[in-house]
């Protein structure tokens, strides 16, 4: 299964925020959509999900324009994991995961035993079985994110789009979440994750789509996209890309550099 667009322009109310986007991702991909705040990540993935119509061009799922697909058809192919949020009512974790079965049910049909089994499997795959009876609203940010991913699994979509899944998590939870997502990609699910943190792209991505003001969207392997030049331009700060050897494996990361302090100035810069 493949979601693709070429020459896509997206934005709100007919005004394009991004133009000339060429992007494709398929089952098994681990694609990171990286860019600074305000680069248009949200606009792009909301267009890919069909939440807003493209300004020009089209998004195609296996060659079919998604604007022509019903919500149900689309939901069976693509799942969406929003940023961890708080709904106003205390649904149980199991109920939230069961909502993933909706695109497989008739309009007034209730989830049955089969759906319950699928939801339970999804919960077990993410190792959150102990949470299933708890109110979703009582969970921590990291736990909520896992529940929403379980819901995406229960949806049995081949493609999953995640919006900043790690942005509100502490370091340990970020890494654990990225590890889970990598495992899922290895099982043949295509994962597109947006992030404003280059570390996540270094750690996790097979391919990186870099959104930087004006330059449109550049897609390529991490080594090529996550270079000092490109990242410095994208984020507008000086930084270094360094390599280390971790247990025989090459890992890369970037270190942002603060502007040099002028030794003659005694007071704090305003």
């Amino acid at each position: 299964m493949k979601l693709a667009c070429s020459g896509l322009s997206c934005g709100y109310g007919g005004r394009a925020v991004l133009t000339g986007i060429d992007l494709a991702f398929s089952s098994g991909d681990a694609l990171c959509l990286l860019g600074p705040n305000g680069a248009g990540k949200t606009t792009l993935f909301r267009t890919l999900l069909g939440f807003i119509p493209p300004v020009s061009g089209a998004v195609a799922l296996d060659g079919r324009d998604i604007a022509r697909l019903s919500r149900r058809e689309l939901a069976r192919a693509i799942a969406y994991v929003p940023q961890g949020h708080t709904p106003p009512f205390p649904f149980q974790v199991m109920d939230v995961v069961l909502m993933g079965r909706n695109p497989h049910l008739g309009i007034s049909q209730s989830p049955g035993d089969v759906d319950r089994g699928i939801a339970r499997d999804a919960i077990d795959r993410l190792g959150i079985g102990t949470l299933s009876e708890r109110p979703y609203t009582d969970l921590s940010g990291g736990e909520r994110q896992l529940v929403l991913i379980a819901r995406a699994l229960a949806q049995q979509a081949r493609l999953v789009i995640l919006d900043e899944p790690a942005s509100h998590l502490d370091l340990g939870n970020q890494v654990r979440l990225l590890a889970r997502l990598r495992e899922l990609a290895r099982t043949g699910i295509g994962i597109l994750m947006t992030t404003h943190n280059p570390q996540h792209a270094f750690l996790w991505a097979d391919r990186v789509a870099l959104l930087a003001g004006g330059a449109g969207c550049q897609v390529g392997p991490p080594d090529e996209m996550l270079s000092r030049e490109r990242l410095s331009v994208a984020y507008g700060v000086d930084l270094m890309v360094v390599e280390a050897n971790a247990h025989g494996e090459r890992v890369r990361t970037c270190i942002p550099l603060l502007p040099a302090v002028d030794p003659d100035r005694k007071t704090c810069p305003r």
């Binding site: 939901a75 969406y80 929003p82 106003p88 205390p90 909706n102 049909q109």
Partner: protein
Amino acid sequence: MNRRRAALALALLAAVIAALLSLTLGRHHIPPAQVLSEIVAWASGSPGSGSAIHSILFEIRLPRICAACVIGASLAMSGAAFQGLFRNPMVSSDMLGASAGAGFGAALAILLGGHPAVVQTAAFACGLLAVGVASAIGHAVARGSSAGMIALVLAGVLVSTLFSAGIAATKFCADPTNTLPAITFWLMGGLSDVRGSQLAWLLPLSACGAIPLLLLRHRLDIMCFGDDEARSLGIDVSWMRPVIVLCATLLTTASVALCGMIGFVGLVIPHLARLLVGARHADVLPVSCLLGSVFLLGVDDVARCAFPLEVPLGILCSLIGAPFFLWLLVRGRRGWQ
């Protein structure tokens, strides 16, 4: 699961007991045993004992009790649906202007000297009109952006204010010796004029609102997570939202057109239901209905019996509802955190 079933069964039991008890209460006390024997006699087709008691029971009390049940259930259910749809526990059943619209329609019809049936029809039509206008404004302002819900809420506030001004203007124009008290009395709400014929149109309208909502109970759960997530879970929000608004509005408007402006049921009862059975609409909707019936039956009994003169239902609902809501607030915020 068992807790939910138990709560549903208890609520059902409470509603049945409240209805039977209400039949015994009134200016003329009828002992429970006699009520039961009258019901048995009625069910078996025989004419029953005394004609006076028979007509009090079946022509006055039974329609009124049925109306209280249906209206309590309708207001509570539409409140629960609106709270879910707007993802806001502070929303109530008349949030899009249904009550203000209905009040204006009724006031205008009374001012023009309409027959009670005309007053009801005008109230119903203006209630629907108010919600229609609010929805249209909300739709036009939002134009597909993600602010759709907020636009709709604000449009509801706006339309409510407009129609309230309309009510005030109608009162200002009314004759202080006859039409003004009639308008004021209608607005305070009450069930004293309910007869069987009015139930005949309340029941189908309420059913038209309630049945689709019950069928869509699982979709309503998903709507609580916002438009984007609902879309990504396969729901076409652009028609699901109007359908839910229409059903909830039918429930509210049909009720308000019959009994006047009764507040608080649609705000308080869904909270109580969530406290008992959790957030799932599959549980919240039926339990809200039953508890709404029990609540309005109880309040109407107080309105009928507690004082030498019948007290308007709307006043009592707020008088009893507000401290009750305070108790819920203090008791714990589990219902909507």
